[in-house]
Amino acid sequence: MLKPILLVEDNPNDLELTLIALERSQLANEVIIVRDGAEALDYLHARGAYAKREQGNPAVVLLDLKLPKVDGLEVLAEIRASATLKSMPVVMLTSSREEQDLVRSYELGVNAYVVKPVDFAEFVRAIADLGIFWAVLNEPPPGSHRYIKPQ
C-alpha cells in the first residue's frame, strides 16, 4: 500500500512548480494538495472536508512556512503535539533561510528544512531527492508499511 505525500502550499505558482518537480521524480505516491495550514490539519486529523478520507498518515508532509490562516510552524507544532501524528516525517519547504525559522523549526522537531532553490533544475532535483528519500529510502515509523516499488 502506497502512502501519499501531503503537500501544503498556498502559492499557485509554487504549487505548479512543485508538482512538475514531483512528476519528474517519477514517484508513484499520490500527492495530496492542501492550500493552507488549517486545511492541512483538517486532512491530518481526518476531519471537516477530510472526515471520510482513507485511514493512515502520509509518508511525509512537505510544508510551506508561510501559509494563510495557520502557518507552517503552527501546523508543525500541532503535529508534534498530537499522539497519532507526532512521529510523522515533516519537511519544511520554504523560500527563506531566515535563521529564526530554522531555529524554530528544529525546536519544534522538523525532520528536514529545505530552502527552495531559485534555479529550476536544482529545484526539481531537490524535490525529487526529497520524495525519494522520504517516500522510498526512509524507514517509516513502526506501524506503517514500507513502500515497495511495483515491478
Binding site: 498556498d10 494563510p68 523560500s95 531559485v118 529550476f120 529545484f123
Partner: protein, 741 residues
Amino acid sequence: MPQDSTAIDIASCEREPIRTPGAVQPHGFLLALAGGAQPQVVQVSDNLAQFTGLMPEAALQRPLADIIGAAGAAALAQLLVDSELRERPAYLTTLRLGDTAFDVLAHAWDALQILEFEPARDNHGAELQRLYPLVGDFLNKINDADSIEALCAQAAADIRALTGFGRVLVYSFDDEGHGNVLAESLADGYDSYVGQRFPASDIPRQARELYIANRVRIIQDANYTPSLLTPASNPLSGKASDLSFAALRSVSPVHLQYMRNMGTLASMSVSLVVKGKLWGLISCHHAEPRMLSFHQRTVCEQLGQILALHIKNRGDADELQFRLEVRRSMVRILGGLTQGADFIENLRSVLPELLHFARAGGVAIVIDDRLTTFGDTPSDEQIRALSDWLGANVHEEVFHSGHLPAQYPPALEFTDSASGLLAMQISRIHQHYLLWFRPEHVYHIDWAGRPDGKELRAGQLTPRTSFQLWRETIHGSSTPWREGEVELAVEFRTALLGIALERAEQMADLAEELGRANKELEAFSYSVSHDLRAPLRHIVGFSDLLMETAGSDNPERRQRFLANIKDAARLAGKLVDDLLSFSQMGRAALRPIRVRMGDLVRGCIDKLAPDLPQRRIDWQVGPLPEIIADPAFLQLALYNLLSNAVKFTAGSNPAVIRISSEELPGETAFHIADNGVGFNMEYAHKLFGVFQRLHRMEDFQGTGIGLANVRRIIERHGGRVWATSVPGEGATFSFALPHHD
C-alpha cells in the same frame, strides 16, 4: 601685653576646674559621709566651726551624731535610708542646730553621700504654700504667649517676682555660642540688656556642659571667701572632690570678677535645655548679696523646665508651619514641572515660584551651556565661574552658605546680589545646578561689651570689665539658610530627580515603542525574504520551463508559463511598492487638521471606480462626522479598507459596502461593512499583521500589506483597529480615533 587674646582667654577658662573647685560658698556647710551602715563623716568644709563650733579635723571619722547631735543625726539617718539619693540634691528636712534652722540637702556623687546645710528661712509650710501656686499661674499664662519672646518675657517677670532679683534676663545661644538676650525683667536702677548679645567667650565650654547636667546655680555673694574642703581631695578616691551637683559649689574666681565687673553681687542661672542641648539661660542678677532658699530655687528650676518645654513646642510648631509653607511652594513647583515635555522649559515656567521657595532674591538654572536667570543675580560669567567652582569643590547634593565670600572669595564682587547661596545639583551625572542667591544683609550686633574684650593682667586671667554697648556691623552675609530650608531643598532635589527619572521611564516607553517599530521592521525584512523571493523564484522557474518546452508543441502550457511569469513579475513590483509605502507610513510626520470624513470616503470611491467598470456595487455611506487627522494618511487607510471590501465582495451580486460612524466613549468609530466572503474569526488576530493572508493567492490578489498599513496609520493617530466577520456573509472592518478635547 597683647590685647587681642580671646583665644588664649577661652582656652585658659576652659581649663578652669569648675567641677572640682575644692571649696564651697561659705553661706552653708558641707559634710560628706561614707561607710555603709555606720556612716562616718569623711570630708567637711572648713566653715564648720562657724556653724557648729566644731573644728573640721575634729569632725572627721566621726559619726554624724557627734557633729549635729543624736536627735538630728537619727532623723537624718532615717531619711537617708528612706530616700534614694540621686546626683541632684534633694531636700531632706529642716534641722535646728542651736539657734539656727538649716535646710538639709543631700545627694550621692563621687562615691560619697554629700549633705549640705543652708541656713533656712522660718516657716517653710507658708513658703511652700506661696510658691507652688506660682507654678500653676505660670503654666496658665505661658499658654497665652504667642511667641518665644513672649514666653521668655513671662518667665522673666515671674522669676523676678518670685526671687526678688533686680534683673532677670532670658537669653538663647546662637550656633556660634553667642548669647542673644530675648527678654528681661528689671527693677528700677538696673540697665537693660535686651536685644544685646553676649559673646560666646563669656561662658566657657565646660561650664555649658555643666549647665546641662546641673540646671540651677546660685551665687549669693560674689565677694565671698571660699570655704575649703578638709581633706582637700575625695578621701576615698584621692582625687579632687567633684562638686558638680553641690548647691554650695564654689565658682571660678574669674566668674566672680566678671560679676563684680558687671555690678552684680548675687546671681542665679537656670538652664534652658531643649532637645538635650543648652538652648539658653535664665540669668538673674542682683546688685546686693541675695539669698534664695532651696524651695525658691527648685520652683525657678521648674519654671525653667516648663519654659524649655514650651520653647521646644513653639519651636517645633513654628518650624512645622515654616516647612509646610515651603513644602506647599515645592508642590506648586513640581506641579508646574510635570506640565510639558521639556524639563528645562518647565523649570523656566516656575521661576517666580522657585524664588519664593527659597526666599531668595535671584535664581539661576545652569544646564550645560544654557543659563537662565531670574531676579537679582550675579552676571552670567560670574555664575558660570561659580558653578565651575562648585563642580570642582563641592560634593554635597545641596550646598548652602550664608556667607559665600568666606568660602569663595570671588563672591566679594557680587555680595550685593549673592552673599548667600543655596546650590542644588540637579543631575546625578552632569554638573547641572539650580542656584538660589540671597542678597547681602548688612546687620548690626549690639555686643554687651567687645566680644574680644577680655583683658589680661600680668600672670592672671581676668574677665572683661566693660559691659558698654559695642556695635558690630556685619558685611558679606545673607540671612542664614534655615535647617528646614536646606532639608526641604534636599527633598525637592529628590523629587526633581524623580521627575527626571519618570522622564527617563517615558524615554524607556519610547524605546519600547521603538522596539515595537523595530520588530515591525524585522517582520518587514522577514517578509521580504519570504515574499519577495518567491515571485523571483517563480520567474526563474517558469522561464526555465518555458525554454525547455521551446521545441514542444504545447502552446497552451507555454502560454500559462508566460502568464505566470508576468503575474510573478507584477506581484514582485507591487510588493516592492507596498513595502516602501509601509515603511514610509512609520516615518513621515503626521499633519493633523480638521477633516470631513464624508469627503475622504467619496474621494476613495471615486478613485476605485475606474477599476470596477463591470461591477455592481451598492455604496451606502451614512452621515460621517468631522475629525482631526492627517488627511493624506487617513485617505490611504480608508482606500485600503474600501478596496479590500471591493476585493472580497467580488462574488457578491450586488456587492453592498456600508460605511458608517458611531460615537463611543472617548472615541469616534468608523465601520466598513461588506457582504463578501468574510473570514474565520479564529484568525482575526492575524489580519492586521504584515504579509498575513487568510485567503489563497489565486482567490484574492494582494500582497498582504494593506491591512498592516491601515493599522499603522490608525495607531499613529492614537486609535485602534479591529474586524469582525461571519464567513460567507461578510466582514466589518472598524477603526476608532480618540476624541480631541
